[in-house]
Amino acid sequence: MATSNLFFNPLRPKTNLQRRTVTGYLFISPFILGFLLWFLIPALTAVWLTFTDWNLIRPPRYVGLDNILQLGRDTLFWQSLKVTTIFTLASVPVGLVVSFLLALLMNTRVRGISLFRTIYYLPSIVPAVASAVLWAWIFNTDFGLANVVLTALGLPKIQWLQDPSWALPALIIMSLWGLGATMVIYLAGLQGIPTVFYEAAEIDGAGRWAQLRHITIPLMSPVIFFNLIIGIIGTFQVFTAGFLITDGGPQNSTLFYVLYLYRNGFEFLKMGYSAALAWVLFFIIMALTLFVFKYVGGLVHYEDTQ
C-alpha cells in the first residue's frame, strides 16, 4: 500500500472528495461509455444520415434538406401517422379506463381474487411473435375465434384482416388483451393508499362514488399519468402485429409508423429518409410527452409537496 505513494501520480486522489469522484466515475463508467458509443455517436450519425441519400451499397451522397422536404409529399408517411394516431387514440384511453376499473374491482380482499389477477395479467407477458401468430388465427375469417364469437351472438362474420375498415380495429382489440400490465401497476398504486382515508370518509358519510372521486382518483393521479405517458410511447412503437399479422395492409390500413420506418430502412434501403422518419418519431414523442406534462400534469395531485 505504502509503495504506491513513492512515485508521482497525478491521478492519485488526494482528498476525500477527489477519491469519491474517481470512484464514482469508475462505477458509472460503463454507462458513460455506452452512452457515447451506442447513443451519442448514433445520434450524430442520424443527423448526418438525414442529409444524405444512401442505400448502404453506393457511397452516400449529400442531398441537403431533400429527405425532410420529401416527408411533406409522401402520402404513405401521412397514412402511417394517421394509422398510428387512430391506434393510440383508441387503444390508450380504452386501455387506461378499463384497466383502472378492473384494478378498482380487484382491490378487494376476497378469496380467489389472486386467480383473477393472474388471468388478467398473463396475456401481457405473452411474447409478441407468439401473440401475433395466435391473433392471426383468431381473426381468420372462416374458422377464427372472433367470428365464432360473433356467430354465437347472432352477428354476421367480419372479414377482419381483409377488410381495410376492420383490420386496424382488430389490432386494437388485440392490444387490449395486454392491458393486464397497466392494471397491475394501478393495483400496486391502489394498495399503497392508506385505509385510514377511506375509514375517515366513511365516518363522514361519504359514499362509494364520493370516495372514488375525492380520494382514489386524486391519490392515483400520478399513477394514471405515468400509465398515460408509457401508453403513448408504447403505441407509437407497435411493430410486430402490423409486420406479422397484416404486413401493413390491406390498403395500408395498418401501416404503423415504425413499420413504415422499418420498410424505408430495410426494404427500400433508404437510410437517409428513414433517419429523417426516426427524427420525426423522436420529436412527436417529445412533443406529446411535453404536451401531456403541460396540460395533464397540472391535474396530477402529489402527496408530498417538498
Binding site: 454507462f31 407477458i125 411474447p127
Partner: protein, 306 residues
C-alpha cells in the same frame, strides 16, 4: 360450464363476506348492500376473466387438433383425438431445438452483462456522491425516454460498419455498457432503500468501495437483481426486431425469428402454428408462476417508488 362457475363464485363471496363481517352485518343494513356489491364485482370480474382466458383456450385447443378439425365451423373445442404429435411435428419441422439453444445463449450473455454492469452503475448513482452525478443520472433518465426505433437506423449503420451483422454481437455487446437505463434506474431505486450505515461500517473497517458493492450490497440486492434477471430473460426470449435486423443465417435464428419464419412457410397449418406458439409461451408462463413475487417487485420498484 359458464353458469356453474358463476354460481360457485357467488357462493364463495357470500361465505367470505359472512366471515369478514358476521357481527357487523347484524347491526347495519348497509353491509347487505356491500355484499351485493361484492357479488356484482365478482360477476364482472368473472366475465372479464373468461374473455381474457378465451384466446388461451383457443390456442391450446387448436394446438391439439388433428388437421381436419381445425377447419370446422362452428369449432370443436375438445379435439378428438387429442393430437400431441402436433408439438413434435411443429418443433422438428424447423430446428426449434437449435433456435432455443441460440436464444438461451443470447439470454445468458445478456444476464451476465446486465446484472454486472447495471448494478455497478446503479451502485455508483445510489451510494457514492460525486460532482456530476445528478447530471449523469439525468442522462440515464433521458435515454429512458428515447424509443428504440429512433436509434434503430443509425445503430444498424454503425453495427454493419463494424461488421457485426449476422452475429450475436449487436444483440449482446451493448448490454455490457450499462445494461440499459431502465435496469440502472430500477437497481438504483433499490440500493437507495438499503441503510447507509452498512457501507459506513465497512468503510471504517478499510473495505474498498468495490468490496462494499460486491460483498455487502450485491447480496442484499438479490430480490431486485432477480427482478432484473427475469425481465432480461423475458426481453431476450421475446425480442423480435433485434434478431430480425441482425440475424440472417437460419442456423443462428432465435425462437422468435424461427416462429415468424415458420408462420411464413406454414400459412394454413394452424394446428402446427398454435403448437409452436404454445411452446414459445410456456417457458414465459412457467417463469411467471415460479417467480411471481419478482414480477410484482419490478412493477413496484419501477413505477411507484420513483
Amino acid at each position: 360450464m359458464n353458469r356453474v362457475d358463476n354460481i360457485s363464485v357467488a357462493g364463495n363471496s357470500n361465505a367470505t363476506d359472512q366471515q369478514a363481517s358476521a357481527a357487523a352485518r347484524l347491526l347495519s343494513p348497509i353491509l347487505d348492500g356491500e355484499a351485493r356489491w361484492r357479488l356484482l364485482t365478482l360477476i364482472v370480474l368473472f366475465v372479464g376473466a373468461f374473455i381474457m382466458a378465451l384466446p388461451f383456450l383457443w390456442l391450446l385447443s387448436s394446438s391439439l387438433k388433428p388437421e381436419q378439425e381445425i377447419f370446422l365451423f362452428p369449432p370443436k373445442w375438445i379435439p378428438n383425438p387429442i393430437r400431441f404429435q402436433n408439438y413434435i411435428d411443429a418443433l422438428t419441422y424447423k430446428p426449434f431445438g437449435t433456435y432455443i439453444a441460440n436464444t438461451l445463449w443470447i439470454v445468458i450473455l445478456n444476464e451476465i452483462a446486465i446484472v454486472g454492469s447495471a448494478s455497478l452503475c446503479a451502485y455508483g448513482f445510489a451510494r457514492i456522491s460525486f460532482p456530476g452525478r445528478d447530471f449523469w443520472f439525468g442522462i440515464v433518465l433521458a435515454t429512458l425516454m428515447v424509443p428504440y426505433f429512433v436509434m434503430m437506423i443509425p445503430q444498424f449503420v454503425i453495427f454493419s460498419r463494424l461488421g457485426w451483422t449476422d452475429s450475436y454481437l449487436p444483440l449482446t455487446i451493448p448490454f455490457f455498457f450499462g445494461g440499459g437505463a431502465f435496469n440502472i434506474f430500477l437497481l438504483r431505486q433499490f440500493f437507495r432503500t438499503l441503510p447507509a450505515e452498512l457501507a459506513d461500517a465497512a468503510r471504517i473497517d478499510g473495505c474498498s468501495e468495490l468490496g462494499i458493492y460486491w460483498r455487502i450490497f450485491m447480496p442484499l440486492a438479490k430480490p431486485a437483481l432477480a427482478t432484473v434477471a427475469i425481465f432480461t430473460f423475458l426481453n431476450g426470449w421475446n425480442d423480435f426486431i433485434g434478431p430480425l435486423l441482425y440475424i440472417n443465417s437460419p442456423d443462428k435464428f432465435t425462437v422468435a425469428i424461427g416462429l415468424a419464419t415458420f408462420r411464413s412457410v406454414m400459412r394454413t397449418r394452424w394446428d402446427l402454428l398454435m403448437a409452436a406458439s404454445t411452446a414459445m409461451i410456456v417457458p414465459v408462463l412457467l417463469l411467471f408462476f415460479f417467480a411471481q413475487r419478482y414480477f410484482i417487485e419490478g412493477i413496484v420498484l419501477s413505477g411507484l417508488k420513483g
